[in-house]
Symmetry: C2
Subunit: 278 residues, 2 copies
Amino acid sequence: MITIITRGNSIQVLVFITGIFIKQGLTIVPFGVVGEDDVAQFMDGTMWMHHPRTTTMNHVLSDEQRFGHLTSVHSTFSFFANDDFLKNNIRINPDLDSLGALGDAGWYSIRAILWAHDYELPKTVTAFADPQYNDAGVILSCGASLNWKKNGIVSTFYCSFLSNLCMDIIVRGTKGNVRVHDFVIPFNEKVGSFFTVSNSKWAELYLGCGPEPTEFKISTDLPQEALMVREFGKLVEEIRGGVAKPEKKWPIISRKTQLIIDAVVTSIKNGFVPVELA
Amino acid sequence: MITIITRGNSIQVLVFITGIFIKQGLTIVPFGVVGEDDVAQFMDGTMWMHHPRTTTMNHVLSDEQRFGHLTSVHSTFSFFANDDFLKNNIRINPDLDSLGALGDAGWYSIRAILWAHDYELPKTVTAFADPQYNDAGVILSCGASLNWKKNGIVSTFYCSFLSNLCMDIIVRGTKGNVRVHDFVIPFNEKVGSFFTVSNSKWAELYLGCGPEPTEFKISTDLPQEALMVREFGKLVEEIRGGVAKPEKKWPIISRKTQLIIDAVVTSIKNGFVPVELA
């Protein structure tokens, strides 16, 4: 049995369990209950992970000549929610998705940081002061800085339901940078673009610099959401056919994303102090 | 007398004083000694302020229909300094420019945040953990979050001598965003571009979004450095001619930029705690 758990109008998690029960939930927090050892294929609904653009950007980030070593990431997902959303959407209801903008928009931004860091967890997470809340105490905007305690690496994110649509990842390395400006949902369903530049130099007398960033356009026949479901179906098919075990990557990165979200919440509750991750 | 104080190979400050002495210094910290009441025209060497692109972006940011209200800014200035720079440049010498990357690259990023905030000082400044230092204790990379204690507004910057050239400002508002990716020194001396988008909407079924950001290209006959010196000369001419008093905007925003830099230093020294600005 394949279960696709939806929340609002988006796919939240996909769960395939060969056993007799399926744990499911409407919030983004069921990741503790589907362990790596279960005979289950678990995958969260982070659709942009399945766009071929993401794979191409991965190639750039792992190319030492073009990118060097990671120094910093900044990611943002914000959108300006309308009145209906802010009154009725489950994402702002403390009895449904109590993590608000952090659990929804922040999830994508935090995943982007983890993705760029090759899924290495940060050592500490420190929330920015002044998150915004609705009357029920649900977060409407927030952000945090993440530290890896090596080579000064620091990454930051910002998420909001109260700011015009912004979907940026900026990944900075010693030799190059990668930028994408529609990472969550591409402006165009069939083509996703990103920008990269390597080994930048000042012009003589600092009257310019180069090279200019290059735009790469990555086509896809199927939308990223369909690619996600297709990938999940393929994994399930292989488990059913006895040719593969469940792919552990997906529950592992779900749990890591959740760990950071939990750390942001703890940091906020404790007055924006650094929270150590185990 | 007009004095142009240079540091390394860049213009640092321009000072015109009608009195008998000129205070000057090689560091970026003379701003406490040239007050608003002095019969002096003071202007720091932040050349991008004088590019016509900056004025055009200002128009977008002050257009309530296109931009709404400011929610967050992220700015970066980094470049990968070569061995000679890291050994010999005055910017990494504790006896010369002891503020390192913060006083040099960070100056521009902080000014960008102040500029986007219409020069309103933040209420608190909190440095990110893990700045990098050279052996002499000079900062090579750092960052901070700035809070205005109203409407959840939070802005962040990152600066580094150890990361490939990156010169981004991302200004986010309730109705629109503005992005520029070469704000310090344009890739092209004669044309500076920026991107803006307003009133973004999801496509049906979230299979896309729009409109796509629009690129604006702003031409300039003279490089921004020449425009800066010309503007300074014009102000001095008017003072000499008795038709104008010194333009106070320039020392005021220099001092505000310096206040934030000082707060970042204090926050770092005190373990990355929030530092309140008076």
